[in-house]
Subunit: 212 residues, 2 copies
């Protein structure tokens, strides 16, 4: 299994955590987003969107971090489960994950920030406000959902990390990198602290990667 | 089952198609996004993000269109399946769906367009270019993936509609609404034409809704 990866890509960070939690042996090959390697012919053959991560297994290529993680759970059902068993609980975990993966993360992606400062010529300050706005808005809803539900435990859902924590940790990493205040999100902070203690999350951290 | 809905919301449009394909009887309650009903206390109790759709069943609320559709497939396994059976094929369909749901649709959401023209004071022309840019970039990758794969059939995956077609049709509807040229995407156009012939897609169309 080969993970085409970039240390600071939060979508790749998610899959690194998932592979660690499931204990699946894999090789990592970095695709340097800052040098534009994601737009090379070679990478675009794997991933026509020119994004990371891509996962290769038995000559098959899997794209889109959430689809990759659902695949890993379905293909390796005997290893650690990224989703609970109950259908209602699975729906809750997926909704928490998608709140981050659809409604926060894509707005602050590198290609979007480049469009803002390039094509739209917004100032650095406006770019930072944009970045902060979508995280703060998304996290406010997430904090409310997490704080008010009895299903929230030590982690986003119960006392074991799930897909939702896997999406949350890289998003909080991004927020801190851009100095977005997280003071209003005590539940989110508490959960991320619990995740950060686990080896699967620690070794997936951007600073721990070969290309860091 | 109650679907909290808005006629022109593409995320709600997806769930309408899914409910139709699966033949699940449900009531629809419109939440008028233009009048700001999504920000009412009442709706935010259902959906803290202030978004549609939400699905209510047995006093439980389900949010996020993709999570809702995965739930419907898991809770009603004997009705029409929105995903293929094989794990590799499921991964492909989910990746196609997420290409739209994560990398195209969120960038062109109403709240994002409002931020662009409001806070960032971009011109109407710049807003339309932004809209068109993300659809064109996303569809270019999607067209390549669909055109080059033997797994593509009459629909995005094989000869039965899946989650991928459910995501594609509302996105193409949006593109047409904003006059984005689709001339370069013959496979996408062909698939959407095939979908448009099916009753499940027809009756889910925005113009067919009570609040249209």
């Amino acid at each position: 299994m080969i993970l085409y990866d970039y240390c600071r890509s939060s979508a790749a960070y998610r899959v690194r955590i998932a592979l660690n939690l499931k204990g699946l042996v894999h090789e990592q090959i970095p695709v340097n987003l800052v040098d534009g390697e994601q737009s090379s012919q070679q990478h675009k053959q794997r991933n026509p969107q020119g994004l990371v991560p891509s996962l290769e297994e038995n000559q098959r290529i899997f794209n889109q971090s959430l689809a990759i993680m659902e695949y890993l759970d379905e293909a390796y059902p005997s290893s650690y489960s990224l989703l609970p068993e109950d259908v209602n609980e699975r729906a809750r975990v997926r909704a928490l994950s998608l709140t981050i993966a659809c409604d926060i993360h894509p707005l602050n992606n590198l290609r979007v920030l480049k469009y803002l400062t390039g094509t739209l010529a917004v100032t650095e300050q406006q770019k930072l406000e944009w970045y902060s706005h979508w995280i703060t808005e998304g996290f406010a809803a997430l904090e409310k959902t997490l704080a008010e539900s009895e299903s929230t435990g030590r982690f986003c859902h119960g006392d074991k990390p799930t897909l939702a924590d896997i999406c949350l940790v890289p998003q909080v990493f991004n927020a801190k990198r851009f100095n977005v205040s997280l003071d209003d999100f005590p539940t989110i902070n508490r959960i991320v602290e619990a995740c950060d203690k686990l080896m699967a999350f620690k070794t997936a951290h951007p600073s721990e990667q070969a290309d860091a």
